[in-house]
Symmetry: C3
Subunit: 202 residues, 3 copies
């Protein structure tokens, strides 16, 4: 199962990098700027998690394939330009898969360090969502995730589910796929039916 998750993790990285690259093209950044945004979006969440947990040198430094996956994503985006947006639905699906996989990977790493489940949930959500937040900060935008999409909520639900399953002694071979699929489904339904979190009125 972890082999499958590893492949999904690389796929998620690829799609997150495309989302970063597209945002850089939109902002009329140059090639370096686009590359920078692709990196930040794809590995910003996991890198922040590693730094907070003290896992250094951060993970991708010891597994160079992530760098090449991101560079490949940028090259693909360059050649297809925004025509890539035609595959919007496919991208969205893999983006959601990335979200689920990053959440679970973040939780796994945190628990392996013997930290509490509250911290594990938080690190799961941060792994999955902070890349997008940093992309918007470096783009000088108000972070989309913080006010519009049910993005973090999907991760949070998946994270909570896996912790409850763990508490109940359900084996990871069941709880991990179920959690990932939960994240994906919540995200898909949220976009389809335009679910949003309540905003507090002043």
């Amino acid at each position: 199962m972890w082999n499958l998750i590893y492949i999904l993790d690389l796929t998620g990285t690829f799609v997150f990098a495309i989302s970063g690259a597209l945002s850089g093209i939109e902002k009329k950044y140059d090639i370096f700027g686009i590359l920078f945004l692709a990196f930040i979006t794809a590995i910003g969440g996991g890198t922040t998690r590693d730094i907070l947990l003290g896992i250094t040198p951060v993970s991708w430094m010891n597994n160079i394939i992530y760098l090449y996956v991101i560079i490949a994503a940028v090259v693909v985006t360059f050649f297809t330009k925004t025509k890539i947006m035609k595959w919007r639905k496919t991208l969205f699906l893999f983006d959601s898969i990335g979200l689920g996989v990053f959440t679970v990977a973040g939780i796994k790493k945190t628990l392996e360090l013997g930290l509490s489940w509250e911290v594990a949930i938080m690190m799961g959500v941060i792994s999955a969502t902070l890349g997008g937040v940093l992309r918007d900060v470096f783009n000088n935008d108000k972070p989309l995730i913080l006010h519009k999409e049910i993005y973090a909520t999907a991760c949070f639900a998946g994270a909570l589910l896996i912790m409850i399953a763990s508490y109940l002694g359900i084996p990871v071979v069941i709880s991990v796929p179920v959690s990932i699929i939960t994240v994906i489904l919540i995200r898909i339904f949220a976009v389809k039916y335009e679910w949003t979190l309540p905003v507090i009125k002043e």
Copy 2:
């Protein structure tokens, strides 16, 4: 004395989290966004300090009470909405106390690692102020602390005072409370009499 400081530290965290949550409500962020801003504001300074010093996993991961204090602050802000601003003066007082306590705690941690007093002062100021700077960056605002309030200066004065006291051999049981009170008083007088730092004219 450290027990009292611990309680004041938690109180400071609570009030900083409220300030972050209020800024999220103002920006019309959703519940996740508000929670994110509450966390960043309350623990952003201390977390940055821990990362720079290499204290990882960062402190609050080993003391889960901080997470609950922040969540409690967000819940209180939700239910009172901006009515909480009625207690503006109380909030301001505790915010100032937090500022003083965070400064002293940052200095203490840095010195315990055997680093120099210059670094200790810097880490004291960062512990107390960076949460507010990060709140504004993630809000896509020009950081308030960098151009308006005598905020960092109050921390700097308190930090300098405690280092001088330490140099003169004054026991911490005296120097710590005096420093914290200095930070609080400078902050209060600064707001009351609208003290600002000079701006360089071009």
Copy 3:
């Protein structure tokens, strides 16, 4: 040679700090804000590299001279105000030198940890450029480096050159100065002839 590089590194820090301080004056930040921007610009890149690599407490904490160099740069900027811009060409030259030296220093540190040359190049570029990116983020600007100047590209070329030289067995006493000079020359020619990287059109 490393003694010369150390002096150039301090000079680069000084000039980067001036650039940060000037941006703070332009934004009408107060003295603390200006100091903060000077620090972020001068040591933001190297600090991020150290954190990613797990070199903590970060380097400048153990070599307090960097703090004093930055404070000196801020004091000089205060007293000359923007008259310092008269020396624009001198500043630009030292800024370019800083860029080259920071790149090489970043690579050296990464390779010493036994990490791959891909990561080394990336850390070289981050060491040299991230300070400027963070300056713009905290200034609430769209980062200049990401869309306008051939800044990172110069670093990247120098970084690539030093790695190729290392692969070919060319001694560092030759490859290091050649790399630094390459960075400087690309940067100077880029500004002189207004080279820019292509922007992808949507």
